[in-house]
């Protein structure tokens, strides 16, 4: 069973959105289930800070030992920070997907955009666990 925290928002493509202390900023990464399916992550290709994303834009690529997977923007907004620690230690995505393994922080326009996302229960059903 993978970890699916109830406080997060999810996409069918296995990204999550985590609220931060700043109500305009959310953190985005991939779920525990996704990292388990991908296996050992060896590179995470992330966008430049300042990039403007619309929902479902491909914002990066995740390379695991056995597979490659695109990363899709779960919400529209502007990339305000990328997790530079992943360059030195991409395995953070495996070890702590919801914490130190976050990928980008996005400035959202409205909290209403989060309503488009799956709840933890929806996501759990989606992955069939």
């Amino acid at each position: 069973m993978s970890d699916i925290p109830s406080s997060l928002h999810y996409t069918e493509d296995h990204e999550y959105v985590r609220l931060t202390d700043d109500p305009e900023i959310v953190a985005v990464g991939i779920t525990d289930y996704a990292q388990g399916e991908l296996g050992d992550v060896v590179y995470v290709e992330l966008p430049e800070v300042g990039l403007s994303l619309t929902r479902m834009d491909e914002f990066g690529t995740i390379e695991a030992v056995k597979a490659v997977s695109p990363l899709y923007a779960p919400v529209p907004g502007e990339v305000v920070e990328i997790n530079e620690a992943l360059e030195g230690d991409p395995s953070l995505v495996n070890k702590d997907p919801y914490g130190e393994g976050w990928m980008i922080k996005v400035r959202i326009r409205t909290q209403a955009d989060l309503k488009e996302l799956l709840t933890a229960a929806d996501y759990q059903q989606h992955i069939g666990e």
Binding site: G39, D40, V42, Y43, T61, E63, V65, K66, N94
Partner: protein, 368 residues
């Protein structure tokens, strides 16, 4: 996803260990355990791991003409084998390209061919079609064979603790017969990792006993097909379907050493290879690395030399030992010198790659 897939005698152990099971050559096989591919890879390079490779095909050849027959359908020289010895060889088409690569084991009274699971049916048909007029009996014993590969520098110590057969007397590509953990085995000092190790062939009814004796805390870690692939790629061992197939010849694949034109017997593919040897080959398999950040070459990506597509990535992946993206492809013979630059098309972008000498990794414990 698992409908109609065959299971090996170790299937329940894989499930109990939480392996990720995938369809592979008609079998449901463990691609990795919760340990993860990188760590599994490292365990085999530094300690000992056990691979379930029972999906491989085994053909037994008996009868008075067995050596002549196998000599005719494989390109290496069966005559060079003493009983108790094995060799890497290949089954070829008339054009000298690969039907499959294989191991040939010579016993006192029989030969055993070990072939790739994905090719077993094709190989079988190929052999049967060339059997006319020879006094041999061919038997597909695959369902009666459980096969575990014990690989890594600590493999001899582990297997020796489970058998009275003297393992230090078994040389590389030699085998002996005797009980391991109470099960009658062919104990073969062979493998696909570049490390010292053994391949154990035994009856499926002994599967639980042998697995339980080998795998566990303080013994060997179970290793999936994912690490099997990264381990073999690092040491430059070819994989059928990637590096070799029915469009490539042993000379192109740098496997000329398994072609024995002078073995004193005709064999399928010989005429074509004789010609190829005289004329020289137009392309060769090379190893390459890419230093482009965030990019791993994968099987099938286009390979571009001087602005022209010349091949695809044959094998590609991340090398856990070298911490670098590595791969293989075929390049024109004039462009195979280490240091030669070319490009790989990755998701619409061309990234630079350069030829390096094979194998990528030479530090293995294998006892040649």
């Amino acid at each position: 996803m698992t409908d109609g897939l065959a299971r090996t005698p170790f299937h329940a152990h894989h499930v109990a260990l939480g392996a990720k099971l995938v369809p592979f050559a008609g079998f449901e096989m463990p691609v990795q355990y919760p340990t993860g591919i990188s760590r599994e890879h490292e365990i085999v390079r530094t300690g000992v791991g056990v691979f379930d490779v029972s999906h491989m095909g085994e053909f037994e050849v008996t009868g008075p003409d067995r050596n002549a027959f196998v000599n005719r359908v494989t390109c290496n020289d069966v005559g060079a084998l003493a009983p108790g010895q094995a060799q890497y060889s290949a089954i070829l088409t008339d054009a000298g390209t690969f039907v499959d690569d294989c191991l040939v084991y010579r016993f006192d009274d029989k030969l055993m061919l070990v072939v790739n699971a994905a090719n077993a049916v094709k190989d079988w048909d190929h052999l049967v079609a060339r059997k006319a007029g020879v006094n041999v009996r061919l038997k597909d014993i695959s369902p009666e064979v459980a096969l575990l590969a014990v690989q890594g520098p600590a493999s001899e110590a582990l297997v020796q603790s489970l058998t009275r057969v003297r393992l230090d007397a078994i040389g590389y590509y030699h085998f002996d017969v005797g009980p391991v953990a109470g099960a009658d085995c062919f104990i073969s000092r062979t493998g696909y990792t570049g490390e010292d190790g053994f391949e154990l062939y035994f009856r499926p009814r002994s599967a639980d006993a042998v697995w339980s004796a080998l795998v566990g805390e303080g013994r060997a870690a179970p290793i999936g097909l994912g690490a099997r692939d990264s381990l073999r790629l690092e040491v430059g061992y070819p994989l059928y379907g990637n590096d070799i197939d029915d469009t490539t010849t042993p000379y192109e694949a740098r496997l000329g050493w398994i072609v024995k034109l002078d073995k004193g017997a005709p064999f399928t593919g010989k005429a074509a290879l004789q010609q190829a040897k005289t004329r020289g080959v137009r392309r060769k398999l090379v190893g390459f690395v890419t230093d482009a950040k965030g990019v791993i070459p994968r099987h099938g990506m286009d390979v571009i030399l001087n602005d022209r597509k010349v091949d695809v990535v044959r094998s590609g992946g991340y090398s856990p030992t070298l911490k670098q993206a590595i791969g293989t492809t075929y390049l024109p013979t004039h462009s195979v010198t280490p240091g030669t630059g070319f490009e790989i098309e990755v998701r619409g972008k061309r990234v630079p790659a350069s030829v390096v000498a094979l194998p990528f990794y030479t530090g293995g414990s294998v006892k040649r």
